[in-house]
């Protein structure tokens, strides 16, 4: 059960404060900030307590996302909730910055109202929420060098202008509604490699983690198909094909992904809802 939710800037300014159960006053925000800034380095910051009030927080976009609870509730759901909330706010506001949160406070309050009732999380899927949310997002337009670089010299078309700017995917999902026709889908493939090499030059460990992110701006998106390599094999299952195989230890998919064609043809079918969908592949 969530007692309160608040969002603080890195300097401790109150951006959003919502009390769900009337179990504690708003003065705890300052208590939290004092605690979190005074924390010594080796102390785990995730869960902190103040009397019988417990703070769970995550940091995203340079902001503190804090939930408090008085009962012995699940820290997993609280952390998961906060992460999802940050994700949702990013979807709705476009970016996740102090400015964006400050500008869209009415929207975020509305979101919080729908997402949590009396401390119980109701629904965090943007599909469901779009039926309820009324407020329009206000999107900040930061000055960006990228946009300048897109303008070719003397208006000439450059190579770059064919590539969407990297900030293209960071805009609110709702604004697409009235912008009308501009139906876009962004597919990001992100890979992270971590390698540990011993001081004697021996490779201790190497692993690669990756994910495919799909961000969809189509108002009513029909089904979409993503094909992966035929040679893609998972775990210890048999190798496929003849080419250089891609072998991953573990894959997990978002719930919107339909896997009926995956086993045979390595095709992911998904009907993305608006906003971000993640497929995480972790590869060793």
């Amino acid at each position: 059960m969530i007692s309160q939710v608040f969002i603080l800037s890195s300097k401790g300014d109150h951006l959003i404060y919502k009390d769900f159960r009337g179990e504690a006053g708003s003065d705890v925000i300052n208590v939290f900030y004092e605690k979190v800034t005074a924390l010594p380095g080796d102390q785990p910051p995730v869960v902190m307590s103040h009397g019988d009030l417990h703070f769970v927080h995550v940091r995203q976009g340079g902001l503190y996302w804090v939930a408090t609870t008085t009962a012995d509730s699940s820290p997993f759901s609280l952390i998961e909730f906060l992460n999802r909330l940050a994700c949702l706010v990013q979807d709705y506001c476009g970016t996740l910055t102090e400015k964006a949160v400050q500008m869209n406070f009415a929207l975020i309050y509305e979101l919080l109202d729908e997402v949590v009732d009396y401390g119980y999380v109701q629904s965090m899927s943007s599909d469901v929420l779009k039926n309820f949310i009324q407020t329009e997002a206000v999107s900040p337009r930061p000055f960006s060098l990228f946009q300048l670089s897109n303008v070719g010299l003397f208006g000439a078309e450059t190579q770059q202008s064919k590539v969407a700017p990297s900030s293209a995917a960071s805009r609110p999902i709702q604004s697409s509604r009235e912008q009308g026709g501009k139906s876009e889908i962004f597919v990001d493939v992100i890979e992270r490699m971590s390698v540990v090499i011993g001081s004697n030059g021996v490779l201790m460990k190497a692993d690669v983690e990756g994910e495919i992110k799909v961000k969809c701006y189509m108002p009513n998106c029909s089904e979409m198909r993503i094909g992966l390599n035929e040679e893609f094999s998972i775990g210890k299952s048999q190798l496929r094909g003849y080419g250089a195989a891609v072998r991953v230890d573990e894959v997990s998919f978002h719930q919107a992904v339909k896997l009926d064609e995956f086993d045979n043809n390595r095709i992911l079918r998904l009907s993305p809802s608006q906003g971000e969908v993640k497929n995480t592949l972790s590869i060793h």
């Binding site: 417990h54 009962a71 012995d72 509730s73 997993f76 406070f105 009415a106």
Partner: protein, 949 residues
Amino acid sequence: MTDSKYFTTTKKGEIFELKAELNSDKKEKKKEAVKKVIASMTVGKDVSALFPDVVNCMQTDNLELKKLVYLYLMNYAKSQPDMAIMAVNTFVKDCEDLNPLIRALAVRTMGCIRVDKITEYLCEPLRKCLKDEDPYVRKTAAVCVAKLHDINAQLVEDQGFLDTLKDLISDSNPMVVANAVAALSEIAESHPNSNLLDLNPQTINKLLTALNECTEWGQIFILDCLANYTPRDDRESQSICERVTPRLSHANSAVVLSAVKVLMKFMEMLPKDLDYYGTLLKKLAPPLVTLLSAEPELQYVALRNINLIVQRRPEILKHEMKVFFVKYNDPIYVKLEKLDIMIRLASQANIAQVLAELKEYATEVDVDFVRKAVRAIGRCAIKVEQSAERCVSTLLDLIQTKVNYVVQEAIVVIKDIFRKYPNKYESVIATLCEHLESLDEPEARAAMIWIVGEYAERIDNADELLESFLEGFHDESTQVQLQLLTAIVKLFLKKPTETQELVQQVLSLATQDSDNPDLRDRGYIYWRLLSTDPVAAKEVVLAEKPLISEETDLIEPTLLEELICHIGTLASVYHKPPSAFVEGSRGVQHKRLAGSAGSGESVESPDTGSAAGVSEAPPAVIPSQGDLLGDLLNLDLTPPTATGPPPAAAPGMQLGAMDLLGGGLDSLLGGDIGGSPAMGAGFGAPPAAMPASFNAPVSGGLDDLFDLGGGVGMTMGSYTPPKTVWLPAMKAKGLEISGVFVRRSGVIQMEMTLSNKAMSVMSDFAIQFNRNSFGLAPAGPLQILTPLSPNQTIEAALPLSTVGPVMKMEPLNNLQVAVKNNIDVFYFSCQYPISMLFLEDGKMERQVFLATWKDIPNENESQFQIKDCHLNSDAASNKLQGSNIFTIAKRTVEGQDMLYQSMKLTNGIWVLAELRVQAGNPNYTISLKCRAPEVSQCVFQNYEAVLKN
């Protein structure tokens, strides 16, 4: 144009401006104004003055504006209850709006306004909304019942909302079911005894069906609710497990952990040889591993939980060591947790891998982490015996790095390895000594001094080394001072000739110049020991030390069991039971695992080893020097006074003395064993045995000693057996009762020691007896006035009368007792020595005795043998008299002493006895005659007990 302008600085008269804007006719302007108000509210400004104006904006068909106004209302209604009434009409109207969004919004907001007056108006709309055709409204209404219950519980019950809520469990929409379950669970927690959430196989089935269709958050409520259910048998528990297992692959970690909790709990009920049990174990590992690739915050929480799971069921993750290897970019708190789990999982199979990792960690830059890694190597050595050698060589490599904190940490760890494997790795001492100078932390210094003292005979210049430490004795911390004192005494005992001066010096430093009582007392004990009997001192100081084990850092089994029930909650992150941090009734239910097999094996005293090790010492000391012991005992004992010693003095005082001695020994021996409660118990036996063994060679010096031990018992009147455990903590939810029956100056008392081994406070004690053979009953209530907090022990003496209801028991002296406290009622049975029923006026006239003896028919006579009793007849007679068995006459026939004795029971039954003692023969013969021959067996047992102790 952005909303951020609302946050800009306040001007004077801002409220006034806002007021004007709120009353504007234009919708847009109104909306802007309300937004401004809410922005001020968020940053903590008081805008309650605008209440009436904002409420005026409420009647609008613009949903966005309505939501903003409601937001404001929720915040300020409490401070302006009278004004809030103004809003009621709009609420009631909104509850009947055509738009389900508005209906739900109104119900939701009304529930959040915590004003009593409003709740009255809430009932009708809520009733309608609970039966609304739109599931969105129903699910909102379900939660609203919980809100209302929190404000006015009576109202909710009176209005019958609880029944409606129960019906919603069978709703067609899974979201509604989930909210109804959540609301019911919450309400049920504040009424622990009501069976609101009546979990029976049918509802469970409904819940399991809803589980598949619900949103992830709803699944969490349902799984948490399932965890509270206790299946009837293993088949049901298996079928629930089967249906919960698919949740393990959910993307939401909270769902996964809730499912793990349910499975861990229900697994207890499955027989271990079942195939399914093995399958389930295998299925638990992958989801736990997957959690470790999430965000660091989630990883941390997951690791805290895995830490518990690994302690309870190491088999689940034993092959997954690799995932716990530390990544360079993990935050420090994740690294430390991973390290802990790595050690718990370390085994012979994977130790090479682990050591290579740990060695790598020990060369990192983060000092805290490096220290932990070095400690971890030591813990591996202690845990996995086969790896000890490799660990030691790894540690030596690390010492060679000469990084100051690594060296210090390594020395602390090596000390522990020496304790675990004595006489195995002493060859490394030379290397350690090289680094003596660089040690500046107390713990490392103390460890090094311990090593030097312990192995003084192998270190040629041990005296020089210790002397160098002694120079700055007063600047050292207590830890180092104590260690130095002990080490020098050890050195002296090993090399007495050359170190006399040194030991003098340290003893005077410790006893005269120090104001630390620990140090002073230890100094005095050594001093006395050394001055009275160096041989004994040697045996005490250089005694063999109990080995240390790797189990020291485990969570206590009962706590672990409780924490396993709270997997995936805050308790599992803090590693504390919920009662320690959640106030009030909510959530403070003590949960226990259901399986009985598990709890039986898990509770064992880790202290028995050390207690036994120490208790060998006193008997070894006694024969060699009686005076010394007397001296030592006198040191701490108030001399026994002849006039009425306090009750419970006999066992209490002896234990006290021994305990003190034990405490001293304990710290002499190990320094880190720590005074354990088991220690006292460990000494229970030797003092009881003492008088007997001293009886034969009664001599001047020892007489005092005898008086000290046995004499107290003499004046008291009876032999008091040591307390026995009547009710073990395992059977009584943590309450342990041990006790003894005694008769003191004509009053029968039941002396009990109650200890609380549970996590919660116990109070409201009461006691009752079942009917018994001699009509024993409590003469008053059980006097335990203060509540018993966890780990506390309390003594209670209960006077007994013999006027209670009578029923013959089998055996005759059996007593069934019920003890009640705030937690439950517990039953146990115990046997009392029949001697406590012997009256003080049990001495028969000789003539009467003779007549009675003849009068009782011969078939009532029973004969017994008491073997191995070395008392002469006078001593026996004295002893028995203490228990109100009176010798009436003594006859000597052919070197055989015949004692004629009588005793009288509280119910008026006389027992006559003839005890035959033959000099030189340790076997006595006893004949008992009584009109009620049933008691003979008991009386004989009593004879035996008294004479042999």
